[in-house]
């Protein structure tokens, strides 16, 4: 038998005990090097041992508990998805593109960790226990690496059987000798690891482990002497997958959103007076990578789409937890979620998008939340918490009963201050004290009602905070939109010129002309329709771009913003 790079069989690649918390194990299967690590939630990750950025082995990186940090440039990859959540060289950017390391399927069973050279998104052969597995309380032996061809190692193991009781062959590179099962992990063409399982924990475990270790060491020495006499087999040469074409260039505008993802409402509960928590779980596997501050579009049963921030911490991808405000004067969005959606219902959500990225290069981070605005800031606090970065979270609510996610807030290690029932003036002074005077590398993030955003913005500006240190996210645009102008737009890449009359948006005119253009909130708040401006002067009416971005005149929101000049040239 010769090894095949595309052999989809499951093989053990490590013992469970090889993977303590906060360690990265270096493994290999069929020539492919693997970085294997256990997250703090117990999940085992089996990834290609190579950072997608510059090809450095991830096994020299750092297991931060929920993310793996590459040693070369500090890129963070999330538990479960291997999606990139942070690029320190560009701390203010949310990685708009989906950078995801290659992952392999994983199963943990019988004290061993198993994987297979299969596409983890499309597993053709799911993990199946070996015949007879159900009868044992398996106890793993010390793994024995051998510099010999895996098939020779299997043949060598078979010679250990007494003459009157030959070895039973098991599927794959495995056999049973008496009641002990041995698996041969095909590391490479000329390298293998013997992984044995005893059917139960022996009375004197150390003595038994030493006994088998001695026996397998002798077998190893014999096999290696034999292998040294043969020409060394050519190592397998696995190819590295290419990254997607959009990753090969450096776009600076957001990518249109992908397909929707079906989710199940796993839990619905009253988190606080007026705040309903929803836990949205993937139907199978995990949900996509998100960054702190990210939100999802939730497609509601009545056809409406609403945005909600993800509250999760790093690497928590089995479900997203969102908080929904129970509004008395609801416009039908939240109302539907709160009143008609129940536990067990299916919903569709978008992939996470981030218009509110968190920098992890601040010497001081101030998080200010008002009411339901706690949701993105809770996620940010959790990321900072896990990386042991300092932060202060201020959470304002009208009453004590309105404090949502209280248990989650109490689990944080940073400074968390909850301010309840403060009169308006006192809110102002509390914000002012919380901000303090600005100095280099300090950042404030605020989410809450418009009045609070304005208060933070003006107070911060008055206390010397520059625009780029004040981060906020609008979920809606309360400003009146002036759509009285008329002008032409030239679409450079589509080679088209369209006239935008008063009363119509650029977005509507492009859609009428048959173009597919991504959009979401259509009120200049979410950033989805961000478009690069090549020529012309923009009449910005959105609340997404900050003042310096607006002044730069290099991009715009086509859903509300218009032209001051007679003509605009857009990169579409």
């Amino acid at each position: 038998m010769t090894l095949s790079l595309s052999d989809p069989a499951w093989y053990p690649i490590a013992s469970s005990d090889d993977l303590p918390f906060r360690h990265v194990y270096q493994g290999q299967l069929l020539g492919r090097e693997l970085a294997v690590w256990r997250a703090d939630d117990g999940n085992v990750n089996v990834w290609e041992n190579r950072c997608l950025h510059r090809g450095v082995r991830l096994s020299i990186g750092i297991n931060e508990g929920a993310e793996l940090k590459c040693q070369y440039h500090g890129w963070r990859y999330a538990n479960r998805s291997a999606g990139c959540t942070y690029i320190p060289a560009h701390p203010a950017d949310a990685p708009a593109r989906r950078i995801q390391n290659k992952i392999y399927p994983v199963a943990e069973a019988f004290g061993l960790v198993w994987s297979a050279a299969q596409d983890s998104d499309n597993i053709e052969r799911p993990f199946a226990p070996f015949p007879g597995a159900e009868s044992g309380q398996w106890f793993p032996l010390r793994p024995m690496p051998v510099n010999a061809a895996p098939e020779d190692v299997l043949a060598g193991l078979a010679t250990l059987a007494p003459d009157d009781r030959p070895a039973d062959s098991l599927p794959g590179l495995a056999l049973r000798l008496g009641d002990v099962v041995y698996f041969v992990q095909p590391v490479d063409a000329g390298r293998a690891v013997i992984r044995g399982l005893l059917p139960s924990t022996p009375a004197d475990a150390t003595q038994a482990l030493r006994h088998y270790n001695e026996m397998l060491s002798k077998l190893r020495d014999r096999l290696e002497r034999a292998a040294a006499k043969k020409p060394a087999p050519e190592p397998l040469a696995p190819a590295f997958d290419k990254v997607s074409a959009d990753l090969a260039t450096m776009p600076d505008i957001a990518i249109p959103r992908g397909n929707t993802i079906p989710v199940v409402v796993k839990r619905k509960w009253t988190s606080a007076d007026g705040v309903i928590g929803f836990e949205l779980a993937a139907r199978e596997g995990h949900l996509p990578t998100f960054q702190p501050g990210a939100h999802i579009d939730v497609h509601l049963p009545n056809g409406l789409i609403r945005q909600y921030s993800i509250t999760n911490g790093p690497g928590e991808l089995m479900s997203y937890i969102i908080g929904v405000k129970q509004e008395s004067a609801s416009k039908g969005g939240s109302k539907v979620l709160v009143e008609t959606v129940r536990q067990g219902d299916m919903l569709a959500i978008s992939e996470p998008r981030n218009n509110f990225p968190l920098r992890r290069d601040a010497t001081r981070t101030v998080l200010i939340a008002g009411g339901i605005g706690i949701t993105p800031l809770l996620s940010m606090a959790r990321f900072l918490d896990k990386s042991s970065l300092p932060y202060e979270l201020h959470y304002f609510t009208r009453a004590c009963e309105q404090v949502a996610f209280r248990g989650d807030l109490e689990a944080l290690h940073g400074t968390v201050l909850i301010h309840t029932g403060l009169p308006r003036a006192e809110i102002g002074t509390t914000i002012s004290t919380a901000l303090g005077a600005w100095s280099q590398a300090q950042h404030v993030y605020v989410c809450g009602p418009s009045a609070m955003l304005e208060s933070v913005r003006t107070t911060a500006a008055a206390q010397g905070w520059p625009d780029e240190a004040i981060h906020f996210e609008y979920f809606k645009n309360d400003k009146p939109i002036d759509d009285s102008s008329a002008f032409d737009v030239e679409l450079a890449r589509s080679a088209m010129t369209l006239h935008v009359p008063a009363g119509k948006t650029i977005l509507e005119v492009m859609r009428d002309a048959g173009l597919t253009v991504p959009s979401s909130c259509e009120q200049g708040a979410c950033g989805t329709c961000l478009t690069t401006v090549i020529e012309g002067e923009v009449d910005h009416q959105d609340v997404y771009l900050n003042d310096s971005e607006k002044a730069a005149n290099t991009c715009m929101m086509t859903c509300v913003s218009r032209a001051k000049s007679a003509r605009l040239v857009l990169d579409i």
């Binding site: 490590a14 090889d18 918390f21 906060r22 508990g65 940090k69 010390r142 475990a205 030493r210 270790n213």
Partner: protein, 216 residues
Amino acid sequence: MTITLHDFELSGNCYKLRLLMSILQLRYDIVPVDFFPGREHKSDAFLRLNPFGQLPVLQDGDLTLSDSGAILAYLARRYDASGQWFPDDPAVTAEVLRWHAVADDITATASAARLALGFDYPFDLEKTQAGAHRIFRIIDEHLWFGEKSGRDWLASPAHPTTADIACFPYVMLSEEGGISRQDYPALRRWTDRVRRIPGFIVMSGIFPAGPALPAA
């Protein structure tokens, strides 16, 4: 009294002393020695300090010492009030000295392979690599059975000793000699533990480990 270390940054043997002095919070001065490319350790002035022409050399007041293992023992006996780094107990002393000898074997193999590949030394690469693998196999087995019996370090005490300091650098630098540690998972885990000793510092070629899981 002033401690002075005659030091070369890229030397694992010099780093052993920097590491222990950092852990023991000792203040010391460094005299850089141009080992490469200047070969200053073969200069007359240096040979007067150490006729063997080897780094490191440590001076403590009037005392001049050489050999990293010997100096580790000296620093621990002289300055470690806790007595844990080079314990007094005769059996443990013997055990630690045994590992100091292993450390010298690692220097003769893994470090020699690194010098051959990185610094053009005329050593037999295949032989030194094979020698290092032979030693790493034994250490991995020792550490694996140690983990099973609750022993985290090379010697038997429940805390690290100079045995760990002496063996660590050239284990960690072995890849520069073309010696992968992939087949030694228990050895790899031990290098995490060493890198989490309070006071740990790095040298060029060795990266820090991240923090351990906080105790619940």
